[in-house]
């Protein structure tokens, strides 16, 4: 018997749909009775790696050893049998059932073959709850519990299944500060009883607060395992973000006459039943002839900002003006009429109708221009499509369903459409996510061309290299607010570690002084 609980060796997992290698020969070791944080940016491959361990994803190659034994894990049931449990970010509970009923679901104590021993169920669940110092009532209905309590139910569910290795996927993302503190207390107790815990997270202070060791992933690769005490937050940020600067794409510094196109003044978005605003007092101006970059880690407001810009998320406070006219209350329809051009982050679910043809996808926002007296002008549409397909060298034809194109080509079609549509400003959200290098470069070149032609380009991206190499000005979001604005000399000298620190919520006060 060794003191490693889990060893994952040389795991490779490629997603067929996008061709992206989510895990590129990854190694991971988890010790017995330790808390390991698995850290990295969005899309670094953390969740994929854990899904492989939990039997939810099948890797192309690699080996897994649990408690010294080589194992094959094909399903979560296999994983449970081996003593591995996972608590997902989204709870998988039946609201109408009681805590005890939820916990035993799938492994019920039985009187005989057909009837459940309800008393035994309650007793067993009660034992688990008391043994680990949880504070939930086994007979309470799950629907009536708070988020933090539901998470406890999920953990109890796993402990009831006698797991020794517990994976938690961003467990604090939905918790308040107090709930987080109490969760950490629970996790420490569990560790002290000899359980091994793996926490997926990208929050630096949490890594420092809870973990014994930290394993850092970046772009599908394992950067390394570190003793938490031996690295500080700044170093962690550096390891997560990567140090290398990609050389900036050649562009002329902006010197044109700059006019304000879009102005956000104290814009807030509050969703019902959610204490913390999703956007809080966001103010900025977007001007012609510049690329304005928005940086932030997922869940910090960029997604909401995108929806607000698209006109699909109403704002609860503040005003937005376009060329001096109030557009705070304009929906997508009105914004499109004003010339909104927007490349969405979700290309397949929002940016295209996969079964419709390329030509039909190309005219969605410009359909008025391609119809006369309510009739579509087929010839014009086809000609328009052919021209754009040519200009952007899309591999495909006008009448193919767009869903049969590759990801990069779908993005080219969307770009072509939105660039043809733009009047004075254009929004790009995660424009190169999942694209290969050549397609990414193409997208970047287009953005710079737009800027040089005098467009106001808004770039929302979680890819720091992209933000830093393209933007003339950068706004950094953390917890729904702008925590820093970088421009000119400051933008040229900023390091990714510093950027990471801003994005992860450190130095907020310093930033306010700058």
């Amino acid at each position: 018997m060794s003191d490693t609980a889990v060893t994952m060796h040389d795991i490779v997992k490629t997603y067929r749909e996008t061709g992206r290698c989510a895990n590129d020969h990854v190694d991971l070791t988890v010790g017995r009775g330790e808390i390991l944080c698995l850290a990295g940016e969005n899309g670094a491959g953390k969740t994929t790696l854990m899904k492989v361990l939990y039997g939810m994803e099948k890797p192309e190659s690699g080996t897994i050893t649990v408690m010294g034994k080589r194992v094959k894990i094909d399903s979560p049931l296999d994983a449970n049998r081996l003593g591995i449990g996972m608590v997902h970010q989204h709870f998988m509970l039946v609201d109408e059932y009681t805590v005890a009923q939820n916990v035993i679901l799938g492994r019920e104590p039985m009187h005989n073959r057909f009837t459940i021993d309800a008393d035994a169920a309650k007793r067993l669940v009660d034992e688990v709850i008391h043994a680990h110092g949880f504070s939930i009532d086994p007979s309470a209905r799950v629907g009536s519990l708070t988020v933090g309590q539901k998470q406890q139910v999920e953990i109890v569910k796993m402990l009831y299944r006698d797991v020794d290795i517990l994976i938690l996927d961003e467990p604090t993302a939905v918790l308040t500060e107090q709930e987080t503190a109490s969760l950490f207390g629970t996790l420490r107790t569990l560790r002290d009883t000899g359980k091994s815990l793996i926490l997926i997270t990208h929050k630096l202070h949490e890594i420092k607060a809870i973990s014994d060791r930290v394993a850092i992933m970046r772009q599908g690769r394992m950067v390394g395992h570190y003793e938490t005490a031996s690295v500080d937050e700044r170093e962690l940020a550096g390891l997560m973000m990567g140090k290398s600067f990609s050389p900036a794409i050649g562009k002329t510094p902006y010197g044109r006459k700059q006019e304000t196109v879009l102005r956000f003044a104290q814009v807030s978005v509050v969703r019902r039943n959610q204490g913390r605003p999703m956007l809080k007092d966001v103010s900025f101006v977007a001007r012609t002839g510049e690329i304005l970059g928005f940086a932030g880690v997922g869940g910090n407001g960029l997604g909401e900002l995108e929806s607000v810009l698209a006109g699909t998320l109403p704002i609860s406070g503040g005003t937005i003006t376009h060329r001096g006219q109030d557009i705070s209350k304009s929906d997508a329809h009105r914004l499109r009429e004003r010339g909104l051009a927007y490349v969405p982050s979700d290309r397949l679910k929002v940016g295209s109708a996969l079964e419709a043809s390329v030509s039909e996808n190309l005219i969605i926002a410009a359909r008025k221009r391609f119809s006369r007296h309510g009739m579509m002008r087929g010839k014009h549409i086809m000609q328009h499509a052919r021209t754009l397909i040519d200009t952007y060298s899309v591999q495909g034809t006008a009448d193919m369903p767009i869903g049969t194109l590759s990801g990069g080509n779908i993005q080219k079609v969307i770009l072509a459409r939105e660039i043809a549509q733009y009047r004075d400003y254009i929004v790009f959200s995660e424009p190169t996510w999942g694209l290969d290098i050549a397609s990414s470069k193409f997208v970047h070149t287009q953005m710079i061309a737009l800027r040089d032609a005098g467009a106001s380009v808004l770039l929302l991206s979680s890819n720091l290299d992209e933000i830093l190499s393209l933007s003339d000005r950068v706004l950094i979001f953390s917890r729904g607010s702008i925590v820093a604005e970088l421009e000119g000399e400051r933008l040229h000298t900023v390091t990714k570690e510093e950027m990471g620190a801003y994005m992860l919520g450190m130095h907020v006060r310093e930033a306010a002084h700058e």
């Binding site: 679910k349 295209s352 419709a356 039909e360 969605i364 926002a365 359909r367 009739m375 049969t404």
Partner: protein, 352 residues
């Protein structure tokens, strides 16, 4: 699939590969006819001959078969239009019945109006069906109710009310049938294939098929409707007013059903009989499914359904099987068309 195979598939019977799945289904259905004839009939050869040749043997049977397909075409167009917008209209039967009833009583009331009366009555019938379906669409837009359920429930309720009206206040005292008064003779559509029942409503059905096709694929509104049906989020992203595409397609769908009902009255029955529409809504759904909601494909699909029905009727008259053989074969078709696997035969395999 390699290139050579690909080409061979494309050439197969000269039909597009995408229609292969439907052809396979029709083939299995016809095989079912053979099987049933041998099982149920003492003279299977005679049964089969009347089943398959019967509907085509003279103008009377041929005309009646074509006539049976008319309401099917209208109704299947109705199903498809809603479906293209991503909405379900399961209330076709009630919309058809309600439309037919209103068209009949308005025609009776407007007996002296001449051609204007015909048009008014038919339009009123269509609007009746349309309003019924649009109401469900409106409920979905307003309160996110499930239109699949509301159309169905509303249709059943309306059918009962119409049934009462026909048997009660609007019953024709001159006959023993439970039916309304007959529409004026001058309002009736001309017979185009004597001695059969086939009326010029067939022309209307063909015209309407073309109109629906043009609407969907040539107009801006049809484009918006289809995009909304394919991906509502994409439609909204592109600035399409999403609320209206929950209501408008339902109205048009219901109106086509109502029109189908009115056509059945003006072309064939002349009076609205109690429960004359029973089964038409479901058969139309099967027709639309076979045609995969493509207007132009609805015509052959509806003819096929009418053919099965006429064949069964013929076999029943001239041999020893019952009319239920038609229901069984239609059920087989219905069952098979819901299989996505069969539908996908010959089309590109889905990714993932």
């Amino acid at each position: 699939m390699n290139d050579r195979m690909d080409r061979r598939w494309k050439r197969f019977l000269g039909v597009p590969r995408s229609a292969l799945g439907s052809l396979v289904i029709l083939f299995i259905a016809l095989a079912a006819v053979f099987l049933l004839s041998f099982l149920l009939s003492k003279t299977p050869a005679r049964t089969l001959r009347y089943f398959f040749i019967g509907p085509l043997q003279n103008t009377y049977y041929l005309g009646n078969m074509l006539n049976t397909s008319i309401p099917l075409i209208f109704s299947a167009l109705g199903v498809s239009l809603a479906m293209r917008a991503g909405s379900f209209n399961l209330g076709g039967e009630g919309q058809l019945y309600g439309g037919a009833f209103i068209a009949t009583v308005s025609a009776v009331a407007m007996a002296g109006w001449g051609i204007a009366g015909v048009i008014c009555a038919i339009v009123l019938g269509a609007v009746t069906g349309g309003v019924m379906a649009a109401f469900s669409g409106y409920l979905r837009m307003k309160w996110q109710t499930n239109e699949l359920i509301t159309t169905f429930l509303l249709s059943n309720a309306v059918s009962l009310v119409v049934g009462y009206l026909i048997a009660g206040p609007f019953m024709d005292p001159a006959t023993n049938l439970i039916a309304t008064r007959k529409i004026p003779e001058s309002f009736r559509f001309s017979r185009i294939l004597e001695p059969s029942n086939l009326s010029s409503a067939l022309v209307m059905a063909l015209v309407m098929t073309v109109v629906v096709h043009l609407y969907l694929y040539r107009t801006k509104s049809g484009y918006e409707l289809r995009m909304y049906g394919l991906n509502p989020r994409f439609a909204r992203y592109g600035g399409i007013n999403s609320g209206s595409y929950l209501v408008l397609p339902m109205f048009l769908s219901g109106a086509l059903y109502g029109l189908g009902g009115a056509m059945a009255i003006f072309g064939t029955y002349y009076a609205c009989m109690k429960d004359f529409s029973v089964g038409m809504g479901w058969n139309a759904l099967a027709v639309a499914l076979i045609a995969r909601f493509r207007p132009v494909a609805i015509i052959p699909a509806a003819l096929f359904f009418a053919y099965i029905e006429s064949g069964a009727r013929n076999a029943m008259l001239h041999s020893d099987v019952t009319f239920e053989i038609a229901s069984i074969v239609q059920s087989v078709v219905f069952f098979l068309v819901t299989s996505s696997v069969l539908q996908r035969i010959g089309t590109k395999r889905e990714r993932g």
